[in-house]
Amino acid sequence: MRHNRLAFVAVAASVGLIATACGGDDGGGEEAGGGGGETGAPALEGTGPITYVQGKDTSGFVQGVLDAWNAEHPDEEVTLIELPESADQQRAQMIQNAETESDAYSVISVDNVWTAEFAANRYIVELPEEEFPVDEMLPPVIDSARYLDKLYAVPTASDGGMLYYRTDLLEAAGIAEPPGTWQEMIDQCEQINATPEGQGVPCYAGQFEKYEGLTVNASEAINSAGGVVTDDEGKPNVNTPEAAEGLNFLVNGFTEGYIPAEAITYKEEEGRRAFMEGRLIFHRQWPYQYALANATDGSSPVAGKFDVAPLPGLDGPGASSLGGHAAAISTYAPNKASALEFIKFLTSKEQNQANFELASQTPIYTSIYDDPALIEKYPFLPILKESILNAVPRPKVVRYGDATLAIQEAAYGALTGEMTTEEALEQLQTKLEELTQ
């Protein structure tokens, strides 16, 4: 009687323990230690069906692109796998796929800040740079897809910040040109607030909530004042007077009032609502807002009353942060040769132009920006090109997840007044040095 129960418990416990022991190990130790990575791109072999993994397709045009490939390559059919809209969740799922060494993902759409992390952790494989027309792509964009001078992903779309401004309010105040420096912008706001049309309209906003967008805005402010977060070799150097001036532009905005208090809660969508409802004169935002704010179906009160300009900086034009996505091949994908061909198809110039016209995706080929026919149709193209050419990528750090949190801590603390700018930058420098050892 007693041994029945004991036997029972023993069986159940051993099932549990055996299951744990079996499931536990990572395949980590299988590669020969860590040292001496591959020299030169490894041969990409294997043809067959592949998958394309990206975040939620909000414009609905990706399946059409895949169908075009499938019509020409019936033996190498590509299936679309959609991940959640949030960038953090996409990253988490891609990491999960790689950590479990699953072959479910072949070609993944990597945000350009994850390239270093994924490459260093061997989640993606090196690509043969000579097979891609890298000279025809905008230099900062292709640079963000490299890790240690080797190409790990091919850009599919870029993104840069622009200054949206209300043309009607500037006109009413008699101002001819959008501002080129921060001080000009503040002065213009004062003039506009003195006019009857512009009275009481808040001056400037960006994305200041404690999330990735704050890293973007803070890095932009620091870079636009001549400072850096990390230098070209990836070493942090943020505790400088220039960086302090840059961060102070945002900090003073809250204390002096040219940034409204509620902007501390703004992400992209809150800011877009504020701008479209006429509650902002100047707004730092991604290109996607252009089409939405120009909608003539009545959803946008500011349609036709705004334009875009390059971001202003401390003494001249500012530096926008470089957004964008790139296509990479997962290390555990079985059919890498097919995946490579698919990437060539996806990132071709014709496809890039189609993406721009259908879905407003920022192009990566220089010639698209210089095409006169397109410039006529989309007048903001030259400004967008300038923005991207002067763009500075976010810190290329392997431990990017921790780095961005450290930047957010410092920036948010300074913006809310919890610490002074100097304290914030000092703290950030220490943290980044720890992370980039």
């Binding site: 009687m1 029945n4 129960r5 029972f8 069986v11 159940a12 416990a13 099932v15 549990g16 323990l17 299951a19 744990t20 499931g23 536990g24 990572d26 980590g28 130790g29 590669e31 230690g33 860590g34 040292g35 001496g36 990575g37 953090d88 990253r91 988490a92 990491i95 950590e99 490459a119 260093a120 952790n121 061997r122 890790y147 240690l148 909530e209 404690k210 999330y211 208090a261 509620e262 501390i264 809660t265 809150e270 392997v398 431990r399 997840g401 921790d402 949190l405 957010q408 801590e409 948010y412 809310t416 919890e418 050892q437």
Partner: protein, 336 residues
């Protein structure tokens, strides 16, 4: 005269009952084993795997060629000591305080509101079924969805600010973030307590109240002396469930306020953030610590306050006679 037949002889006392007990027990064990196996797999395995994971750590260092060093090493209790030391330690104790604070405050408010709701629902009203169903609607909405709803309400230009005519930035760090989380949580789960307490209230017979009224008890005295003691078992179970749920609170602070805000950061959030950065060892350590905390609280609750989670049925079954274990056949003279 009719002959009275002798009563049938009873079988020998010891042999047959003992064998049938053995058989019954084996049958019971056999029938239960699939369930126990599934539970061991679904509950036992993750706990053991989590504890095992918390004893290992993956390297975060980059080797000279630029790649991250692979493989995990056994580090023993290093993950735990890292949790308690330095900046991580401060963050942990802050999260511990937040978790406890939310649990105590939210459950207290929910109990008050829930019991009030139950008392109101108990009165014979027309449309009782409809009222009960509609009160349960907040509970039926997934927590993440309700967090999004409340985030809209607590937006800087949202309804909350419009109604109270202030410009409070609810999602910024500080007491307002705590208040936002408490309001959203109470709205969602007070109905749950209300419903469980209502079930407990309905078991109380009306005669007790009538007797009390005859004796001249006021409504408050009736509540204090009759309702509360009789509804105590149901209330304690409801409170225990809520405490265990709130100790694990994650979605409300994460979605409503956002990660990285010290005033609402809970231990679950810390585990999640570590997990997101592929530091599975420390993430498991946080999870195991939370698990131990929850087990401690649950144990204390059951032992001290006597929350009868298994039910009073145990007291009602006849106690086995001395020398025997478990079931015994009903013999003549047993109380039903």
């Amino acid at each position: 005269m009719a002959t009275i037949e002798a009563p049938p002889t009873t079988p020998p006392a010891q042999e047959a009952p003992k064998r049938s007990i053995e058989d019954q027990r084996r049958l019971a064990a056999g029938l239960l084993s699939p369930t126990v196996l599934v539970l061991a797999l679904v509950i036992g395995y993750p706990i053991i795997a989590g504890i095992r994971q918390s004893l290992f750590s993956t390297s975060q260092e980059v080797d000279p060629s630029g790649f991250v060093i692979e493989g995990e090493q056994f580090v023993g209790l290093d993950n735990y000591t890292a949790v308690f030391s330095g900046e991580a330690g401060e963050r942990f104790w802050n999260a511990f305080y937040n978790t406890t604070f939310f649990t105590v405050v939210c459950v207290a408010i929910e109990v008050v509101i829930g019991v009030a709701m139950a008392l109101i629902m108990n009165k014979a009203l027309r449309g009782k079924g409809l009222i009960r169903a509609s009160i349960l609607v907040p509970w039926a909405i997934p927590t993440v969805v309700s967090a999004l709803l409340w985030r809209w309400i607590f937006d800087a230009n949202g309804i909350a600010n419009a109604i109270i005519n202030q410009q409070i930035l609810w999602s910024t760090d500080g007491w307002q973030a705590k208040a936002a989380v408490i309001i959203a949580d109470t709205w969602k789960t007070a109905p749950f307590i209300g419903l469980l307490v209502l079930a407990g209230l309905q078991v109380i017979p009306n005669e007790v109240y009538e007797a009390a009224k005859i004796d001249g008890a006021t409504a408050f005295q009736q509540f204090r002396a009759i309702t509360l003691p009789l509804v105590r078992p149901a209330l304690l179970v409801a409170v225990l469930f809520r405490i265990l749920d709130n100790l694990r609170m994650f979605d409300l602070p994460y979605v409503l306020v956002g990660p990285g805000k010290p005033s609402v950061e809970t231990i679950s959030i810390l585990a999640f953030l570590e997990n997101n950065n592929t530091r599975f060892g420390p993430a498991a350590a946080y999870a195991v610590l939370l698990f131990l905390y929850v087990v401690l609280v649950a144990y204390a609750f059951v032992k001290l306050l006597g929350a009868d989670v298994i039910g009073e049925a145990r007291e009602k079954t006849p106690k086995p006679a001395k020398g025997q274990r478990g079931l015994r056949p009903i013999a003549r003279g047993d109380t039903p």
